[in-house]
């Protein structure tokens, strides 16, 4: 990597953050963050009114259990990986597809700074959307009396989500700078491979990100390591790779 990194990365961060928050992809992010809130409001009103109960295997599910399910199934198994795939792969790949990568490369800055700035912008953007969404779902679904006892769990869940966004984002950013069609592969990895590997016996599940996001698995160090290594590899790859833009 050549040249200073932090100053250019900061300028890239500010530029990319605005594009991400107010670009067309923001609609998807808004839906991903808003839909659970809407679902939470409906579920809470329905449960509070007693007009309906959610029954799983013949047992009633209370709102606290529903919040746990929302975190594990909706956020950690769908929203977090989906945002990671869509945004992570597009950070550089979109610039290549739209042939605007040249304008970034001709700037007097290290290519690694472009990747770092865009990645940090992605991280701030998705964290600023997903975490408040999950926090709002928590206060909507869980009765106030249960908020205190569950506070530690929610803090851990929010931390795991942030870590998941960071890891998926870095991994698919690397895929985005390395492969031509990263989105398809990313979707197959997240919704195909991870879903299958998690239910397979043995150690195969350790080859997924989702495994380390489970509350019973101490995966913080692994996730951090994957995120840092993937980001480093992405920065290295973009420095060395020649991008041939299709005419």
């Amino acid at each position: 990597m050549s040249g200073p990194l932090l100053g250019p990365a900061r300028r890239m961060f500010e530029l990319a953050l605005g594009e991400m928050l107010w670009g067309r992809r923001a609609v998807f992010m808004g839906l991903a963050a808003g839909a659970p809130i809407l679902l939470a409001v409906v579920a809470r009103l329905t449960l509070a009114g007693g007009s309906a109960v959610l029954v799983v295997n013949g047992s009633r599910i209370d709102s606290e259990a529903m919040f746990g399910t929302a975190v594990s199934l909706l956020y950690l198994r769908f929203i977090v990986p989906a945002l990671g795939v869509f945004y992570g792969t597009s950070l550089i790949a979109e610039e290549i597809e739209e042939k605007t990568i040249t304008y970034l490369f001709v700037r007097p800055m290290a290519r690694g700074a472009i990747v770092l700035g865009k990645y940090l912008a992605y991280l701030v953007c998705v964290v600023a959307v997903v975490l408040p969404s999950a926090a709002l779902v928590f206060v909507i679904m869980v009765p106030f009396a249960s908020i205190g006892p569950l506070f530690g769990t929610v803090l851990r869940d929010l931390g795991v989500m942030a870590l998941g966004l960071a890891t998926y984002g870095a991994l698919f950013l690397w895929a985005g700078v390395s492969f031509k069609r990263p989105l398809v592969g990313g979707l197959i990895f997240v919704f195909g491979w991870e879903s299958v590997a998690l239910v397979l016996p043995g150690y195969v599940r350790r080859l997924t990100i989702a495994y380390y996001l489970q509350p019973t698995v101490p995966g913080v160090a692994t996730l951090l390591a994957v995120a840092i290594i993937a980001l480093f590899l992405a920065m290295q790859t973009i420095e060395r790779r020649e991008y041939v833009l299709e005419q």
Binding site: E14, L17, G18, L21, W22, N57, G58, S59, R60, I61, D62, A65, G68, V124, A128, V129, L131, P132, A135, L136, F138, V139, F144, I147, G148, P149, F151, G152, V154, L155, P215, T216
Partner: protein, 322 residues
């Protein structure tokens, strides 16, 4: 950075901060005021296998108790007998009671050392007099006056450890309780696993935490079925009593697989119960309130006995008696 981007980030941080502050306030409030673990737990020896607590005053004053009394108006003989032997009227004199056992509850052997710690209004002179009439001796132990009977048939001791605080049990148990309180022996408070379960259930009007081995023999289930259950380490139960009963039973299995197996077993029993009780509105109402959760090594089952369900059950019982 554009102004709208800055505003968005501030709004996002604001929402997150507000929610976290709410959670922090709720958590701190719970930590300060929510822990209802009685101070009496300091008397429980470290080798206790079971601890149970009841806020007798709250139970006695509850509409639920009135309703039960109406249902079972004739059954006062046992309470009268206890008053005749000890001079203590449970309903009138006792505010709260904590019972600890250091042995297998099912086997009444010398290893079964139950200890009763009660708060209330006690006539110390009368109670001591009754004990002396039965041959009790008075001793001093750790600065407390211990009244004890020990012969072939009886091993019982009693002491007033503080104003309105009665310790009653086998002589060794009472002395062990005084040792634990004085810090001369390890108390149950040092057992973090046990205390974590106590902290989980102590908001109930009545609660109990027990080593599963210690209570397995008292299970209403046949021994053959109990032996087939997945390995369980701890059982905890709590109940909040007002106009109804809101109960929760929690089992800590040895591992997550055992917890899943246990959940399936309980699920099976629930399905069977639903099948049998589907025609009885009382049982159906109770079974509809049942919630079964499994998380990690923990399996919990909660239920509610609302006044309507109690009415329905009592009507069903009356019909069957006729």
């Amino acid at each position: 950075m554009a102004k709208r981007t800055r505003i968005f980030l501030l709004a996002s941080a604001g929402v997150l901060t507000a929610v976290l502050a709410t959670g922090l306030v709720a958590w701190a409030g719970g930590a300060v005021a929510g822990s209802t673990t009685p101070d009496d737990i300091a008397y429980v020896p470290g080798n206790a296998q079971m601890v149970a607590y009841a806020d007798v005053r709250q139970v006695m004053n509850s509409p639920f108790r009135d309703r039960l009394r109406q249902l079972d108006a004739d059954n006062n003989a046992a309470a009268d007998g206890f008053e005749a032997r000890t001079g203590i009227n449970f309903e009138r004199d006792v505010d709260s009671v904590l019972i600890a056992s250091t042995g297998r509850i099912s086997v009444p052997t010398p290893s079964d050392r139950a200890l009763l710690i009660a708060h209330g209004r006690f006539d110390a002179v009368r109670i001591e007099g009754l004990m002396r009439q039965q041959g009790a001796q008075v001793d001093q132990y750790r600065g407390k006056r211990v009244v004890a009977i020990k012969n072939d048939a009886n091993d019982a001791a009693l002491t007033f450890a503080g104003p309105g605080l009665l310790l009653f049990g086998a002589g060794d148990s009472v002395r062990a309780a005084l040792d634990a309180k004085a810090g001369a022996a390890q108390g149950i408070g040092a057992n973090t696993e046990f205390m974590a379960l106590v902290n989980d259930v102590d908001e109930g009007t009545a609660w109990s935490v027990a080593k599963f081995d210690s209570v397995a023999g008292r299970s209403p289930l046949p021994g053959g079925i109990v032996n087939q259950l997945p390995p369980i380490n701890w059982l905890a139960a709590s109940g909040r009593i007002d106009s109804g009963l809101h109960g929760r039973v929690r089992a800590e299995a040895q591992d997550e697989q055992s917890a899943r197996d246990l959940r399936d077993v309980v699920q099976g029993f629930l399905s069977l119960a639903r099948l049998q009780g589907s025609r009885d509105p009382g049982y159906k109402g109770m079974l509809d309130s049942v919630m079964l959760n499994a998380q990690g090594k923990s399996v919990s089952l909660s239920f509610e006995l609302t006044p309507a369900v109690l009415d329905s059950l009592s009507q069903g019982g009356a019909v069957r008696r006729r």
